[in-house]
Symmetry: C2
Amino acid sequence: MSTGLPTIGEVARQAGVSPQTVSNVLNNPQLVSPLTREKVQKVIDALGYRPNSAARQLRTHASSTIGVRIDPASTDGVSGVALDRFLHELTQRAEERGLRVLLFTAENPDDEITQYTKLRDTADVDAIVVTSTFFGDPRPAWLASKGMPFVAFGRPWGSDPDDPLVRWVDVDGRAGVRSATEHLYGRGLRRIGYLGWPHGSGTGDDRRGGWLEACEELGLDHSIELIAEERVPEARAVVQRLLADGSDVEAIVCVSDTLALGAMMAVREAGMPHLPVIGFDNTPVARAVGLSSVDQSLDAVAQGVLDLLLGGGARILPTPPHAEPTHRLVAPRLVVRRSSHLAVVDNTQNG
Amino acid sequence: MSTGLPTIGEVARQAGVSPQTVSNVLNNPQLVSPLTREKVQKVIDALGYRPNSAARQLRTHASSTIGVRIDPASTDGVSGVALDRFLHELTQRAEERGLRVLLFTAENPDDEITQYTKLRDTADVDAIVVTSTFFGDPRPAWLASKGMPFVAFGRPWGSDPDDPLVRWVDVDGRAGVRSATEHLYGRGLRRIGYLGWPHGSGTGDDRRGGWLEACEELGLDHSIELIAEERVPEARAVVQRLLADGSDVEAIVCVSDTLALGAMMAVREAGMPHLPVIGFDNTPVARAVGLSSVDQSLDAVAQGVLDLLLGGGARILPTPPHAEPTHRLVAPRLVVRRSSHLAVVDNTQNG
DNA sequence: CTGTTAGCGCCTTCAA
DNA sequence: TTGAAGGCGCTAACAG
C-alpha cells in the first residue's frame, strides 16, 4: 500500500546517492558538497518531494506542532480575546518557523488539562500555547510540573510573574490606557473619566492603573470612575446616568471595546457625539463604528510567544531555566479614529 | 533516545501478551477474547497508554487530521464568516469523531492551493475544509481534480451545485431572510425595506431572494431597497438618507450584522429607536447591542461538514461519487431580541 | 563528504 | 484467538 507520493529513497535513487545524503541536503546542507547538493536538489524539485511528517515525527520525537485551545467565541462582549486574530498571527508566524498549529477544545480548565494529557500521550504536540490566563489559573502550574513546554498569552495573575518556569507574553494594558489618557490630555481635555470592570480581574485592574497613573502625572482629577460588567447595555446605562446627572466629563477611556461601544451609544443618544470615547482591543466593531481603541498588537504577541518558545532557534526549548528570557510585555498602540459622525458619512456619499 | 511514554510493547509485556494483541484490543476488540481484553485494558489504564499518532499515521497512511485555513480576521465589517465560531464547532465535533484540526494561512486563493499541495505532500492532512467560497473560486475544482478529499462551507457559486465531485454545506440564506421578513409581517409591519450588498455576490443575491420571495408571497411592496458595501458608516449613511427623505419604511431587513448595525445607528439617531432592524450572522455585536439577527447555525454546518466527509463512518471518504449525499443546506434560525433600549437598560440596573 | 545500519511505534499479513 | 515477521519513511549514529 503506497500513497503515490515520492519518498526519500525515490529521490536518492534518481539522484544516484544514498537516502541519508538526501536527508542531509534537507536538514544539514552544510554537510553536503555543493555539487551533490545541487544534484539532489534538482531531483527534489523535479519530483516535488517533501518529507513525510509522520515519519519524521516518529524518528525525531518531535511533532513540530503546537496546540492551542479555541474558545467557544462565547460570552457577551464584542471581543473575546480577539482570539481569532491572535490565532491567525500565531499560525502564520509558526508556519514561517516550520511549526504547525493544532486546535483543540475544552469545556473548562480541568478539561483543558485533560486535553493536554492526551496531546502529550499521543505525541501530537511539542508545546502548548495557553490563552486567557486568570487569577488562580491551574494550567501554567500543571504544565510546568509536568515539564511540558508552554507559553502563556497573559500574565500568571496572582502568582510570581518572574517564575522562570512560566514563560509568558502579555500586552501592557497599563501603558495602553495611559497613552489613551495622555492622548486626550494632548487634545486639551481635562475631565477624563474611566469606565472599567469590577475590581479583581488582573487585566482590568492593570488597565485601570494606567489611567490613574496618567491622571496623577498630569495633575488631573480622577474622580469620574464608572464600573460595568462586560456588557454593552450595562455600559450604556451607567454612562447615560452619568450624563443625565449633568457631569462635566469631557472624555471617557474604557477598559474594553464592549464598554466603549455602550458608552459611545449613550454619548450619541445624549446628543454629545463629539465627546471622545476610547476603547481597548481594537476589535472589528471599533473599526466599524469609528471608535478609537488601544490595539493589542497581537502580531507582536504571537511573535513573542514563538520567540520564547524557540529562543531564536528552530527547536522548541524545554521548560526553563535556560539562558533565554522567559517573559515579554508588549506595548499596545493607540489607534485614533474620528468618530464616524458626519465627516465619515459625507465621505461615504462620495464613494 | 526515548520519550518516556509507554509503548504498545511495554503494555504487551506487562499484560503478558504480544504487541499485536494490544493493538487488536485497541482497534479490533471483537477479535480478542473478553478475558485477554480486560487484562490488557487494565494495563492500558494503569500506564495511561495511548498510541503514538505519528507511528499510527505512518503505518496507516492516514493522519486523521483535517486542514482549515484561518482568515486574517480581516476586512471591514463586524463578522468575518464568524469563522471562529465555526472553527470551534468544527474542532469539537471533529474531536468526538477522532479527528484533529490543523490550521494554516494563505494570502489568497492561489497561495491557498499551494498550501494544499504542501499539506498533501507531507501527508499532514487527510482532507481540507474550504470556507468562504465565491464566484469563480478555483479551490473546489483544484481539489476535486487532484482527488484530495474536501468539503466546502459555502456553495460553489457559479458552477453546478449538484456536481458530485464537490461536497458542500451551506446556510440557506434565502430561507433565513424570508423568515425574518415573515416575522416582521407577523408583528403587523407592512413596509419592509431591504438593505443589501451590491448585486453579484452569490451569498448576497441569495439572501435578497428571500426578501423578495416573502414580499411576493405576502403581497407586500418591495420597493424599498437599499444597497451598501459591507461597512457600518456606509449603511448608516444610506439609511440616514432614507429616513431624512421621509420614507414610510416600518422595518429593515439587512444582509449582514454589519449593515444592520449601521442601520440601527441611523434609526436611533433619527429618533425612531423602535423601528425594527434585523441583521444576519448573529455576531457577538448583534447580541451586544440587542439586535435581532438570523443565526447561521454554525453547529449544524460543522456537523454537516463532518457528516459529508465521513459519511457516518469513522474514515474520511474519498472524493465522490460514492453512495453518500454530497451536499446539505442548513436552515438558519431567527434570533429575536428587543432592541436594547430602555427595557434592557432597566433590567441591567437590577443586576 | 558519503554510505550503511538500525530502529522510532505501530499495524497489516500471515502462520500457528 | 494469538503471535511472529516485516515494513511504513525517515534520520541518528557510526563507518568509511
